[in-house]
Amino acid sequence: MMQEFFRMTGIHKIYPLGDEELHVLKDINLHIQQGEYLSILGPSGSGKSTLMNIIGCLDTPSQGSYILHGRQVDDMNEKDLARLRSKEIGFVFQNSQLLPRLTAQQNVELPLIYADVSTRERRRRAQEMLERVGLSDRMGHYPNQLSGGQQQRVAIARALVGNPSILLADEPTGALDQNTGKQVMQLFRSLNDEGRTVIMITHDMNVAANARRTVHIIDGELTEGGDAGNV
């Protein structure tokens, strides 16, 4: 039997807020196939960050079932979640979030340190990944010596270096100008063409349009947007 790749069923997230409760996610059902390119589109305050945290195994749902790569995530403890993140999820954040005191290559190596990969292997894979995102001539540069687009590409290399099942991007073009944003989107598309599963969270319809499938999240409820793209 094929193991389930990604399935969320009846996910709720409720935060206690004094006497009341804040119902952030309401009955989310989401099914993703391996190799999909999905965008989750929603305005701020819609619960999309919370959803991203749950997808990224940073947080657990209050209710419901979440299966990632055949494993039940919803009742995992902190340690198992960390291991799962290290193995399955590659994060790309809005502001690239590189450590300023490390070179591009050292930044890319970072996830491998925590995955206990040997120094030589780490270096090899980091260099390979930086080549893949087109930064083979910038490996020894520090983040402040790189442009915004280059920084974001380093961040993408860092997300991919552990060979995760899902590339999870939170507003990946949010801090970039239009042109650079486009380049990043092209990179995502080509990564997807190579078979990577990409999930992108954004509030920007134009950005979401780059994905092959879009779901909308409004007020904590998810609605399938159908094919937003032009495949």
Partner: protein, 403 residues
């Protein structure tokens, strides 16, 4: 198991590299934090090494002077005020006694021609005393048994006395008036007589005469203070017991007629006092270490707050809580150890200088170094623990939200 240990060691290495980055990244702050530990450790090391050098020199000079001797001072009873020469002979005949040197002290007016000095301290000694301290006479001769039994008016004088009374004249064979009585100078004492044991216990004297003569000058026929040299194979404890038995017999078992002081007892007291002083000083200095530790804790807490995003990011990238904790612990440990090592060096240099100035022995105390290193390591870990724990407990979502 082995795999886990290896993974831990590799993680330590990674944390070491990261810590070096971070410490160098905020140089000024790291330097100040290290300085706190450095001062504490340097103070502890300097104090312990200096005091131990001092106490070493002290006990060396003690044992060179006082080994195998007992000092007896007699207060006497109504019937018997002190010991007669016959009593001293009895003591000398004891198995455990190698010899006895009485001390009869007086202050006298000394003159020669026009020159005079009042209140010169004169001590009466016996032949055995000079035989024991052969280095005592630099020129001339010592007191002989004949001088002793004849109560001869002969004396030995210090170089100081020589300068006072015999400027430009060879004093040997000359006459010096002590309390108006003419004494013949038979010898010159060497310079360093002050170093000898008896001078330490009974004060230094400028002129030595036969003890029998001194008794006559004092108009007494008993000795109330003397030093007993123990024979080989008798330690001070046994010697004291045997001597006390004999003295008890002499004083017909009356109480409180005499006290026997043993030098090793004095040495022990001295040493334990010094140890106490050194422990006290080290205790005070270690307050500085605690303050340094608080400095480390303060810096680490600030660092954790500042690097919230970094911590959140690392957690999102799959860092486990123990890995984060190890990283921060390593950082505080390294700060503390750098302070410790430099502090040990500075402390040693400081105590070397002090020891040189005070002219005591300088010895590198392994114990003190181990204490300094251990203490700074402990400070690093203890005061780094809470901030590291805080970092490892940080929720990645909250941490990332602040970005």
């Amino acid at each position: 198991m082995f795999k886990k240990v290896m993974q831990f060691l590799r993680m330590l290495r990674e944390c070491f590299v990261m810590s070096v980055h971070n410490i160098l990244g905020s140089r000024m702050r790291s330097f100040l934090t290290i300085l706190g530990i450095l001062i504490g450790v340097a103070a502890v090391i300097a104090l312990i090494t200096t005091v131990s050098g001092f106490s070493g020199s002290l006990s060396d000079s003690f044992s060179s002077m006082g080994a195998g001797t007992l000092t007896v001072s007699v207060s006497g009873s109504e019937l018997k005020e002190g010991l007669s020469s016959a009593d001293l002979d009895t003591l000398t005949a004891m198995d455990c006694v190698r010899g006895v040197t009485p001390t009869v002290s007086l202050k006298a007016r000394v003159s020669r021609g026009d020159a005079y000095e009042s209140s010169i301290s004169v001590s009466g000694r016996n032949t055995f005393y000079f035989r024991e301290n052969s280095e005592l006479v630099s020129r001339g001769r010592a007191i002989t048994p004949v001088d002793e039994s004849n109560m001869s008016y002969v004396c030995l004088i210090t170089p100081e006395m020589m300068e006072t009374f015999f400027f430009g004249v060879d004093p040997l064979g000359e006459t010096l008036y002590i309390s108006g009585i003419p004494f013949q100078v038979i010898g010159i004492l060497s310079d360093d007589t002050t170093e000898s044991l008896t001078s330490l216990t009974s004060g230094s004297s400028d002129i030595l005469v036969p003890y029998t003569t001194a008794m006559r000058l004092n108009n007494v026929n008993v000795v109330t203070s003397f030093t007993v040299y123990l024979a080989d194979g008798y330690d001070s404890e046994t010697g004291t017991t045997l001597l006390e038995e004999e003295l008890d017999r002499m004083f017909s078992f009356e109480e409180d007629c005499f006290t026997v002081t043993n030098m090793s007892g004095v040495e022990d007291t001295m040493e334990s006092m010094l140890n106490m002083v050194s422990a006290l000083l080290a205790g005070i200095a270690s307050i500085a270490l605690v303050v340094g530790g608080i400095g480390i804790m303060n810096m680490m807490l600030t660092t954790v707050t500042e690097r919230t995003v970094e911590i959140g990011l690392k957690k999102a990238l799959g860092a486990l809580p123990w890995q984060i904790q190890t990283q921060f612990l390593m950082e505080s440990f390294m700060l503390s150890m750098i302070g410790g090592i430099v502090g040990i060096l500075i402390g040693l240099i400081l105590s070397y200088t002090l020891c040189t100035v005070m002219e005591t022995d300088f010895a590198i105390s392994v114990g003190a170094i181990a204490l300094g290193a251990g203490f700074s390591a402990a400070v690093g870990i203890i005061f780094g623990w809470a901030p590291a724990r805080k970092a490892s407990k940080l929720n990645p979502i909250d941490a990332l939200r602040s970005m």
